[in-house]
């Protein structure tokens, strides 16, 4: 990691900066220190993984645990491969991906416009906020069965669960993003006789974008959780269904293979959101 993957900026004080304030530049804290790694240091993390896998393989093969309790990594790979080659992994994965993406789209769109309304309109804020907070206090797992009853055990109920789980964090992010816009910049747009649409397009959207994109990264992984929760409760396809099915038949290798696929899916979505952030927020670099 040379720090490039995790964009962050320095905070050199500049002439004109007030103490403790840096002209409204949001900062990202580096996740990894900005060391230049020597080639062999890149091997450290993969080596640890390899060691754990080998120990796991030895433990599983030693016969201490039955294979339906602890399958060996090679068994899991084999199971994963058989799922992939007969097309069932693709089929179930595609269902889950569709739920995740539709839920994200619906949840984020609703959160953005409602958040925008609440940030701009005091009446809307006073009227809606208590209900939104109460809605968030309901554990999504607890109302998932209800949603299945109402919307059926098909894809629709899962999309709604994903949308709900994504909704609140995105809503909060939108409100914070909109409220953080410097009043001086609003004055500027006002003084330049900008139309409401111009103010949205040239000020509000770009100013809120860092927070919105940060929210997207969180939402992407949350949405995967939402889909699995829905599939656990009742489904006939999807990766969550595969896990449930594997548990029922003590096909532990199947469970692990499906979990692996799910986390890869979540990581990929997170990566795509980070990439989008990197491209759109080039001014922060």
């Amino acid at each position: 990691m040379d720090g490039k993957v995790f964009p962050h900026r320095h905070a050199e004080p500049r002439i004109g900066d007030r103490p403790g304030e840096a002209a409204g530049r949001p900062r990202l804290t580096p996740v990894f220190p900005r060391f230049r790694m020597v080639w062999w240091q890149f091997l450290l993390a993969p080596s640890l993984g390899a060691i754990i896998l080998v120990l796991w393989e030895i433990l599983a093969r030693s016969g201490v645990y039955a294979s339906f309790i602890l399958p060996a990594p090679t068994d899991v790979v084999e199971r994963w491969w058989s799922l992939a080659s007969d097309g069932s992994l693709m089929r179930h994965g595609a269902v889950t991906l569709r739920e995740v993406l539709s839920g994200l789209l619906i949840g984020l769109t609703a959160a953005f416009w409602l958040g925008y309304l609440i940030a701009k309109n005091r009446i809307a804020a006073y009227t809606l906020t208590p209900y939104l907070v109460a809605l968030q206090a309901i554990p999504i797992v607890a109302i998932a069965p209800l949603l299945i009853i109402w919307f059926g055990s098909g894809i629709a109920s899962k999309v709604i669960i994903c949308a709900l789980i994504v909704f609140f964090p995105a809503l909060v992010n939108t409100i914070i993003g909109m409220r953080n816009i410097a009043p001086e910049l609003r004055d500027l747009m006002h003084a330049l006789e900008a139309t409401p649409l111009q103010t949205f397009w040239h000020l509000e959207l770009p100013a809120a974008l860092p927070i919105l994109l940060g929210g997207l990264k969180v939402s992407a992984t949350l949405s995967v959780i939402g889909a699995v929760v829905g599939e656990f409760v009742s489904a006939s396809e999807g990766l969550g269904y595969l896990i449930n099915f594997g548990r029922g038949t003590y096909d532990t290798a199947l469970v692990i293979a499906a979990v692996y696929t799910l986390s890869t899916l979540a990581l990929t979505l997170y990566g795509l959101a980070s990439l989008l952030e990197y491209i759109l927020l080039d001014w922060q670099r």
Binding site: L185, E193, A207
Partner: protein
């Protein structure tokens, strides 16, 4: 109202209504800005200078009285009035170039004219080499130059400056006053500038208005008969020093 008056405040009062009760900030302020004159407004902190400027810009409504741009009462902001704030107030996601061109974009000016004007403004403000730089990389002085360029680019007739150099260090500040003189010589606008610095006011202005502590009233209207073009050399001339002394006494009567 004399014919060459462009912006006039007529008997303006403003009371800030807050949770702690009413706070009168301005008390019957009357002033007239003649076309192409440079007027500075000085006064103690918190005397309502910025409030007055916001009222003149149409960003804030006076409690009583009215502002006229030529014959028309101002009830909302006008493109004909440019404004520069204390902070440079640049959009961090736009480069220097596109921060400058923002007013032209909002006015939906044809692209070729936008480009022409922005390039000319980059040159005038000495920022040509910084066109593609984001504001985070600019020093305070450079950022404020962009802000001044942005306020001038759509050619407003009146320019209101609210302590534009207030956050700069003394050296940069003096240099920026020189820059402003140079720019103003090229683009004669009607300027009203709020400042804390007496020498800065005398150096730049044709007329200096002094405000009282809150609630603000205009207590002194001092003409500055120093010849133009002026430069920073003026700072040491005896007539300049005498004027700053007079001004200082009117702010802090012994």
């Amino acid at each position: 109202m004399p014919n060459d008056t462009i912006l006039a405040a007529e008997d303006i009062s403003h009371t800030y209504t807050g949770p702690g009760g009413d706070l009168p900030t301005l008390e019957s302020v009357t002033l007239e800005l003649s076309r192409e004159s440079f007027v500075c407004l000085v006064g103690p902190s918190g005397c309502g200078k910025s409030t007055l400027l916001r009222i003149l810009a149409g960003l804030l409504r006076p409690t009583t009285g009215q502002v006229r741009l030529e014959a028309q009462p101002i009830t909302q902001p006008q493109r004909r009035i440019g404004i520069v704030f204390q902070k440079a107030n640049l959009m961090p996601w736009r480069t220097v170039y596109s921060n400058l061109s923002l007013p032209l974009e909002l006015a939906r000016m044809p692209a070729s004219e936008q480009e022409e004007r922005t390039t000319a403004m980059l040159e005038l403000t000495g920022l040509t080499g910084f066109a593609d730089v984001y504001p985070a990389a600019l020093s305070g002085g450079m950022a404020q130059r962009v802000a001044i360029g942005r306020a001038l680019i759509h050619d407003p007739e009146v320019l209101l400056l609210d302590e534009p150099f207030g956050q700069l260090d003394a050296l940069t500040r003096e240099q920026m006053s020189g820059e402003l003189l140079r720019i103003w010589a090229r683009h004669r606008k009607t300027v009203l500038m709020v400042t804390h610095s007496i020498p800065e006011a005398v150096l730049l202005a044709d007329r200096v208005l002094v405000m009282s502590p809150r609630p603000g009233r205009i207590i002194c209207d001092l003409p500055v008969p120093l010849p133009r073009p002026r430069s920073l050399d003026l700072l040491h001339r005896p007539d300049f020093v005498a004027l700053t002394e007079r001004l200082r006494r009117s702010i802090h009567p012994a």
